[in-house]
């Protein structure tokens, strides 16, 4: 894993199929949600996320992006790609 995270970059974490892992390389913090999902999906389909088994048929439809800034204990930006959880609307 590339441990260096420069300003303007973030560590991206994905949860998929009961597993969770970080992309080995940092991503641009200002990438769009769609771009971030695409990066996560490519890594997932290629088996490039430590902790998550390769899944060539994976889809991240209806996954959303959460962004967090640096903290005292984790002084870098963090991005999480996870399932959405809204309910409701007309059938």
């Amino acid at each position: 894993m590339n441990q260096r995270i420069d300003a303007g970059q973030a560590r991206l974490n994905l949860t998929w199929n009961g597993q969770n892992g970080d992309l080995p390389d940092p991503v641009p913090y200002d990438a769009s949600d769609a771009q971030l999902r695409a990066m996560a999906l490519e890594a997932l389909r290629n088996g490039d996320i430590p902790g998550i088994h390769i899944d060539r048929g994976a889809r991240l439809d209806d996954f959303v992006v959460d962004r967090f800034g640096p903290t005292a204990t984790m002084p870098w930006h963090r991005i999480f790609v996870r399932p959405k959880t809204p309910f409701g609307g007309a059938p």
Partner: protein
């Protein structure tokens, strides 16, 4: 009245009541907190119930895509109950499509101890 939800464990016990800011009579917004509850309790999850105040116990398009996304993230299937003032229907993935969820035949334990409180919380606004 507000849409309200509850997370249930495999034994039918309540794990978490979900009434986030921004809930309306017809929708619950996306909430990272709910996902965190599902993830933390993933080994014991039974499913999630939510209320359709004044509506039918039929999943909306938003409901179906949430069901599918959460199960894809968790790597397991859940039961998704939808409650109204008079009905409770449990939906499970039936396939073959990603969004093909069908009502599960009624089982005795679906006479849920949590149902009256879920309806009450919906009436009270969470």
């Amino acid at each position: 009245m507000l849409e309200t939800a509850v997370v249930i464990d495999v034994d039918g016990q309540v794990l978490h009541w979900h009434a986030p800011p921004g809930a309306t009579a017809t929708a619950l917004p996306d909430a990272r907190g709910l996902w965190e509850v599902l993830w933390i309790h993933r080994s014991r999850l039974g499913g999630v119930a939510h209320v359709h105040p004044g509506g039918a116990p039929v999943p909306s398009a938003v409901d179906l895509t949430t069901f599918a996304a959460c199960e894809a993230g968790l790597g397991r299937r859940l039961v998704w109950w939808i409650a109204t003032a008079t009905d409770l229907v449990a939906f499970v993935h039936a396939g073959p499509g990603r969004l093909d969820y069908h009502p599960r035949p009624h089982v005795v334990k679906d006479v849920a101890a949590w149902l009256p409180e879920l309806r009450d919380r919906s009436l009270r606004g969470g």
